[in-house]
Symmetry: C2
Subunit: 308 residues, 2 copies
Amino acid sequence: MPARRPADAGFDNLLNDKVQTVNLQLESLLDEQKDIHEDLKKALAYTLVSPGKRIRPALLLWSCEAVAGRDSHEARIAAAAIEMVHTYSLVHDDLPAMDDDDLRRGRPTCHKAFDEATAILAGDALLTLAFEVLATKIADAPLAVELISQLALAAGGAGMIAGQMADLQAEHTVGSIEALEYIHINKTAKMFRCAAVMGGLCGQAESGRFKAEPAQLDALAQYGLKIGLGFQIADDILDVSASSAQLGKTAGKDVEAAKCTYPAVIGIEKSRELERRLAREAMQALTPFGSRAGVLHALADALLQRNR
Amino acid sequence: MPARRPADAGFDNLLNDKVQTVNLQLESLLDEQKDIHEDLKKALAYTLVSPGKRIRPALLLWSCEAVAGRDSHEARIAAAAIEMVHTYSLVHDDLPAMDDDDLRRGRPTCHKAFDEATAILAGDALLTLAFEVLATKIADAPLAVELISQLALAAGGAGMIAGQMADLQAEHTVGSIEALEYIHINKTAKMFRCAAVMGGLCGQAESGRFKAEPAQLDALAQYGLKIGLGFQIADDILDVSASSAQLGKTAGKDVEAAKCTYPAVIGIEKSRELERRLAREAMQALTPFGSRAGVLHALADALLQRNR
């Protein structure tokens, strides 16, 4: 990989800080699950407490900070919940009947490390646990309900699952740019948007102004959607340009599976251009936050650096 | 089948009434899903709007009536949500990697009618939708949060999913009565208990006494757990004594799969005795409700009639 700019090191430190926070929160929530089936717990721990990038929960925590100047207990619970939903989606997407992948986050996928039935059930348990922790660990009922709504809408049949459905159907077809957008917006960008909005809601609750400033939430929604789409395009580009060791998952898998990706449909150069445009637009959406959105700017900037 | 007592016809009418209510609610909630992926919606409609017995949602609605004298919008939403979770569990349990079943509710299982990937995603979407409707369709936030907690706890890795995990692991083993109880309590009885408690919570909210009388909720929890365990034992007995046409699913499947069932472990006669004892205990738990729990008595009674 090319040498990275000093700015990246600063961002990496900020991200690492959030990775620690999220990992601790996930471990503590898992530890509290006393009555869970033991073998299921092993599978949950294996998939959940793994070297993930934790971009979605970090985005959530930073969005909370952009609103309230700090994160909060509620934001950390929400961050863990969104990472649980992301992880469940990876576990199910990797199944033989879906993308049939053997490697994830640098380790055997859940159904390879355990078995297929365990992977299906572990995914189901993670999805359920995400809603459980939001409902049981957040005392402010209106906030909890709003977070659950946002997460369910982003992750459900009109969001992430619709994206995966379309992604599977698009294999071995000549993808149009519209089909591609549908897949990436649903499969990835809506969950990023959801992370930003959930963080914003936690931040507003923390500052005692829950839902009082819809413009803040709109700005975060805009930012999250753009960043999410840009992130997915960057991922597509990396899949064709990086090795499996760099990715922690099987490289070239998209090409092999004849997946509908941006580089396949519009070429690598145009994909990079689009990614840059999305990062710029994401930064513009942050205007209402001024200097308080520094880290969110850095996240958009880091996105641009990934493929240089 | 032996001739049924007149009392059963009366109960059947009461149940049919609730089946109509639940089916209408499910159809209306599905209709509202405008942005859902079209093929996913077809799979959801296929599995959800199917000839199910709707015992769990009926139990929920009757528990609400036992508390408030009537059901409510909130109870109907909760009834639809619990049926969504039950249906998702059937769709996933039927998968080739799990129980590998071809027939369900008298029709091809979801992965047979569509394909395996669609069945996995349809199950995921149903589970997510259950939480979505509870969070978005119930205006009373503390009630919504409590319903979501109860459902997530009953359906998760320390409940229904633990039961399915243990069930799969117990195949081809000589089951102990303890292992059997663990499976049935987790896989079935906790969801029945959850239905009764959710109904009770809706009833208390409807009568303006939300969580004011924990003894009511305890009684319903006791009743639901006993009825649920009795129902599962009845199901096990039916599997060895009825035909596929009567069941709407493959008969003798438990024996073939060497499943850990009550008839296999303690014999049919002792299973029937246990079922009767559970029905009696369930009825005793209803004492605090007096005559207002008439239909819940009839449900326990109907359970006893199923295997006569």
